[in-house]
């Protein structure tokens, strides 16, 4: 087992290397450089653009720049952003917590909602509730996040005034105005209040997919022999469902969650944009529009590491849940 994990990690490192080379040279092939954004500014002359490019080291050939990047990245240095001049790792670290908080909360909420919904649908197949849930999940899958997000903002922020329209905290929020023992709660509520809408939007598409998945895998399991045996032996229905069936039905979901990660990152970009959430998605978007190669490289690598690690964890977890699955490196 340990050997296999080591091999798997080695494979991941190789993948990262391939991803980095592909990303770097694809960006290189795309037209424009980080100084192209100055083109329609009449105050910035051609001489200025050449000077800036030289200062950024962009006058060197691409393959040399790639090896410099690789050497530095191996030592944990992702270079400086062309836009802000800040170290890329700092740029990412400034936003990663916000993104992880948003994604973590959405994953959790999605799980909490999707599992009971899936089970309920499976056990009361073709009931009205099941049909409603089926229709609802199709709706959830097909509603675009930006549209849904704006609708929520208009209802809960503009119309009802219950929730803030964006941001992750009120800039002048000062917990010290509350009595001492309530301060942590006030701070927590301040965070939660800002998270409700973005988390809801982001988890919606997951809930829709996952609940359908749980429903069908529950149905699969319920019809298996061992369940029938358990029922025949007089094990109470509740116990049959939750002790025997659910465990086996949930196992494949772990893999699915791992596979959902990349798409989930993509979805977070839109949600961050709409709810002014100061996360990585927005950093990536502005890096792309401004050809900030270094930041794009940095985020691609961090995302790749997160996704690879997520999948590795999912697989390890899977073998724990279902001993029949043998670990193949």
């Amino acid at each position: 087992m340990r050997n296999k994990i080591v091999r798997r990690i080695a494979m991941s490192i190789l993948s990262l290397l391939v991803i980095s080379a592909l990303t770097f040279f694809l960006m290189e092939l795309a037209p424009g450089t980080p100084v192209s954004r100055y083109a329609d500014n009449p105050r910035i002359s051609r001489a200025d653009r050449e000077r800036i490019e030289k200062n950024m080291g962009l006058d060197r050939p691409a393959h040399i720049r790639y090896f410099i990047w690789l050497r530095n990245a191996a030592q944990g240095d992702l270079g400086l952003s062309y836009m802000t001049g800040q170290p890329v790792s700092q740029e990412i670290m400034a936003r990663l917590p916000a993104t992880l908080r948003l994604m973590g909360a959405s994953f959790l909420v999605a799980l909490i909602i999707a599992v009971p919904l899936g089970i309920y649908s499976a056990t009361r197949r073709h009931s009205i509730v099941d049909s409603v849930l089926t229709a609802g999940s199709y709706l959830g899958l097909s509603v675009p996040a930006f549209w849904f997000g704006l609708i929520l903002i208009y209802i809960f922020a503009v119309w009802l005034r219950w929730l803030p329209a964006g941001g992750q905290m009120t800039p002048w929020f000062d917990p010290s105005v509350f009595p001492p023992f309530t301060r942590p709660f006030a701070l927590l509520w301040e965070y939660i209040r800002h998270m409700i809408m973005p988390v809801f939007v982001l988890s919606l598409s997951l809930v829709a997919g996952w609940s359908r998945y749980i429903r069908s895998s529950m149905l699969d399991v319920i019809n298996q022999n061992y369940i029938r045996t358990a029922r025949a032996k007089g094990v109470p229905e509740r116990k049959v469902l939750y002790r025997h069936a659910l465990r086996n039905a949930l196992t494949p979901l772990v893999t699915l969650m791992g596979m959902d990660l990349p798409a989930f990152f993509a979805g977070a970009v839109i949600v961050e944009q709409i709810f002014a959430w100061p996360g990585m998605g927005r950093l990536f978007l502005s890096a792309v529009t401004n050809n900030d190669y270094q930041v794009m490289m940095g985020i691609t690598m961090i995302t790749a590491i997160l996704v690879l690690a997520g999948n590795l964890l999912a697989d390890l977890f899977y073998t724990r849940l279902d001993p029949r699955v043998k670990y193949e490196g």
């Binding site: 795309a30 192209s36 009449p42 653009r49 329209a165 964006g166 002014a276 100061p278 529009t289």
Partner: protein, 503 residues
Amino acid sequence: MQVDIETLNPILTESANEADVLNGIFSTLIKVNEEMEFEPDLLVQLPEVSEDGLEYRFELRDDVLFHDGEKLTAEDVYFTYQMKIAENNAVPSRMMWDKIKEFTVTDPYSFTITLYEPDVTWLEYWAYADASIVPKHLVEEEFLANGEELSKGGDFSRNPIGSGPYELVEWETSDYILLAAFEDYYRGQPEIGQVVFKIIPDANTLLAQFETGEIDIYDRAQPGQYEALVSLQENGQAIEVYQYPGFVYMHADFNLRLAKFQDKEVRQALNYAFPQEEFIATVLGGVGTPAYSDTPPVSWAYNPDIRQYSYNPDKAEELLEEAGWVRGDDGVREKNGERLAFTITTIAGNPAYASYQEIAKQEWEAIGAEVELESFDGPMFGDALTSMNFDVIVFAWSSGFDPDSTPIWHSTQIPDEYGTGQNYAGYKNDRVDELLEAGLKISDRQERIEIYHEVQEILAEELPSLFVYFMNSVVAVPDNLENFRPNPTQANNTWNMYEWKWN
């Protein structure tokens, strides 16, 4: 604001977003007020200019303190200038600073600047946020420590110390910037204690936050939101909505190197065939001002009597016929074997540009052109423009409030011939060259008016570019905010933050 702040070191940025915040933290030598007149800021009075227009004498106030309590002196101004021209610094533009021949500090509060040649437009640049005076005692250390180089991401960029009305309290990346009033500001502590700049990327969310009062001032609203803002006001929200034309103009440049665009009749015909006023009324909801040249109505040099091309497709066809462009079998006009076929290139993601393209295609095909459309995202567009690889290209220039436009129209500014300048169209006109050169040497406003009136006349006649409209700025503020005076120049609407107060 919709875009993230990149840096708060004024030396290293020119973008409007940063300027909004920098206007609070820093001071400049002079200011441009909402009437577009110079006012002294750190100066006792506007500089004295020598007879030959080369020497400028400046005198500083002696009561200005930086936020750390140190006095601001001529050494700081000199240092700021040195930072602007230092080779390795990440300064975006050195154009205006390269005109300085000599900078002499005469005593702690006065200095003299000598130019290589007379250039009356030069002074304007001391008025904008990117010419804010930085404290030598703080920035120099960083400059020397990094091998005589200032990075946009350096310590000072994250923790700027200026002499402006507000001090930086907190900068939450991508989220907000919080400023607090500076007690020892030389005009006295501002009345509004705290100012927050929020970064909200989505325009709809911004509007929602404005409606709920999560933000008080909505600056740089998109033209499409003007109506929404006005209806908020009509529905009882206590706000004031301003709309005013500025210096940014959208235009379609011809690549004059191409044979098909060398007849001025072709350019005029295309202008006649474009429904400019209808475009402004429908696509922009009226939030725009028709342009007939590059000089906006708000400019003192504006010439209202130049040639205008009201929508007239018949006239357009007539002009083309006269110039020898006849329709071929497929209805597309030809002359000397050259088809009137071309591509309109623009920046992707701007609805106004896209509509312009669509309408132009439809209208111009009706008079016998064959039109392809092409849009690129920012960097690719920049490449098309700077490599002059386009037929007709649609974008916007933003200019200073001085009417000089040498970098764009002077024939020595054609990049593929002289390696410098932004005359991407490749426009050459001896008279325009002469006028632009003369305009830089004369400081008498009346004489300059005559010069620029003629430049506009020629541009409107020759049409190296189709001038479409001057963008109007839209800003909404609470109606109990006093002294908010929108400023159409690059000084931005935060230019007089120190005077704002609630009533």
